[in-house]
């Protein structure tokens, strides 16, 4: 039995985010996305995985409403996206924290912009700062934190606004390897606790297989969704056991074989 057997299609899951025939051509004629259609099931973490140039970050920013598609539509819970909205929150590759603000204020910033009263937003932010494992660091400033801790603040900020959809743009790529592993484990816990839809851009195959319920494999030139893989690896075993699990390793290998021809 091959690892392919694990990649079973799901029958009719509830869809949180739907991308319909989206094309994005940047000024200057660079085509980042070509007629892309993909759906993201509710309550799951879906990875967008692919080599550089496949348009995965562009797709994420279009879903976020930060970029306008040249044609096509994105809907979140059936409502078309016209710009950024409260039901989506973004986690940035380079954290995008405000260096002049404390951890607490950074984590509460989305709520501050929404006009939530100070005591209330601080209480919510404190809860999520604790959830991402930064309790006790509330009054420090970003430059006093390591890269991994900064990204935890970025995650707390995105969780604090209680958006249904979390968009994560290579959140661990600026974090060192050991921190990244720990962070991935913690992310699984957050996904399990929060019942939100996560869309996760990564270029790491291992990371995608480890954290995702489903992986959308994107390929470049022309950019397209080549397939959707559901790595049904066991979640009831320890993180280290997962990383040694033959099913896990088979899926990683299979994705690599599919991608290798596209890697220069």
């Amino acid at each position: 039995m091959s690892a392919l057997a694990e990649a079973v299609p799901v029958e009719n899951p509830e869809i949180a985010v739907s991308v319909n025939d989206v094309t994005k051509i940047y000024p200057g004629g660079v085509e980042a996305l070509n007629d892309m259609t993909i759906q993201f099931p509710k309550g799951e973490l879906t990875s967008l995985l692919g080599p550089s140039g496949c348009g995965k970050t562009t797709l994420l920013k279009i879903i976020a409403g930060l970029l306008k598609p040249t044609s096509g539509t994105v809907t979140v819970n059936g409502i078309p996206v016209t710009g950024p909205g409260r039901e989506r929150a973004f986690v940035f590759q380079d954290f995008a924290l405000m260096p002049w603000a404390s951890v607490l204020r950074n984590a509460a910033f989305g709520l501050e912009l929404q006009g939530v009263a100070k005591s209330e937003r601080h209480a919510i932010a404190e809860k999520y700062i604790e959830a991402v494992g930064l309790k006790g660091y509330e009054n420090l400033y970003p430059h006093e934190l390591s890269g991994g801790m900064r990204q935890r603040v970025g995650l707390a900020r995105a969780l604090a606004v209680n958006a249904e959809v979390l968009l994560m743009d290579e959140p661990f790529s600026a974090v060192d390897e050991q921190t990244r592993r720990k962070f991935q484990e913690d992310l699984l816990q957050v996904v399990a606790d929060e019942q939100k839809t996560f869309i996760f851009v990564t270029h790491s195959i291992e990371e995608a297989v480890y954290v995702s319920q489903s992986i959308a494999l994107l390929l470049p030139r022309p950019s397209r969704v080549s397939e959707i893989i559901r790595p049904d690896i066991r979640r009831d075993i320890s993180p280290d056991a997962i990383r040694r699990d033959p099913v896990y390793l088979d899926i990683v290998e299979r994705i690599w074989q599919g991608l290798r021809t596209y890697v220069e």
Binding site: K61, A64, P84, D94, W100, H143
Partner: protein
């Protein structure tokens, strides 16, 4: 600086120049160059006088109001230019032109429009200071990490929130540099304005001293002004360095 293993303080060279000045002054080569010690004595003589104090007060008032206006106008304009290509295209040629223009030539025009009073001096100060503040605020906003702007958008900040909670703070290192340079130019503006108007403040004193060949008074006054200009620049420099840490952390 070290000479023969002895640590020499920063300002020590000024002492040597003061000694040279004293010697040259004592030789009585020119009426323009009185001995250094005489100037210092004169300095302590004129500083406590009411005339000096009222001149100082007018100067300080014009400086503070002029610089204040330049900052209040300059920062928003600079931030807007940094964020909007249309506004930038509209204003940048003017800002660059005025930044390098010989503004002194404009003061007589201001005098005919606003009279020989503090209004003209304040406006001169504003004209000297505002352009560099605009340009630095603009540069600061253009340097904001793109993801910080995307963050502001993705959490749906409105224009006012983005402006006051993110852009101004993110551009603060450049804005402070602009304010420091603006203040230095303000000092020039406020003095040049007074010299040309020449009936109020230090302008009147300079006019009085030079017309009567009171070179010691003249130099004493200059020393006071140089000292204050230096103090303002250094004070703002210290403030600026306090915020440097996050210019580095912006990456």
């Amino acid at each position: 600086m070290n000479i023969f293993g002895i640590k020499i303080p920063m300002m020590a060279s000024l002492l040597i120049w003061a000694v040279v000045w004293e010697i040259v002054g004592q030789l009585e080569l020119s009426i323009l160059l009185p001995p250094f010690s005489h100037i210092i004595i004169r300095l302590f003589e004129i500083v406590p006088t009411a005339t000096f104090f009222s001149a100082f007060w007018i100067t300080a008032k014009c400086f503070l109001i002029g610089t204040g206006i330049a900052i209040i106008v300059g920062i928003p304009v600079g931030v807007l230019m940094g964020r909007s290509i249309v506004i930038d295209r509209m204003l940048l040629p003017w800002v660059n032109m005025f930044l390098s223009a010989p503004l002194t030539a404009l003061v007589p025009v201001l005098m005919t429009l606003f009279g020989f009073g503090t209004k003209t001096i304040i406006l001169t100060t504003v004209l000297f200071a505002v352009w560099i503040i605009v340009l630095d605020a603009r540069a600061g906003v253009k340097n904001i990490t793109p993801s910080l702007i995307e963050m502001t958008k993705s959490f749906q900040a409105n224009f006012w929130q983005a402006f006051t909670m993110v852009y101004v703070w993110a551009a603060l290192p450049e804005i402070l540099a602009g304010i420091r340079l603006g203040c230095i130019r303000s000092v020039k503006g406020v003095i040049i304005g007074q010299l040309l108007v020449s009936v109020v403040g230090f302008g009147r004193l300079f006019e009085l001293y030079s017309a009567n060949f009171l070179m010691e008074h003249m130099w004493a006054l200059l020393f006071v002004l140089f000292f204050f200009a230096f103090l303002i620049a250094e004070g703002l420099g210290i403030l600026e360095r306090k915020f440097e840490y996050y210019a580095a952390s912006r990456g």
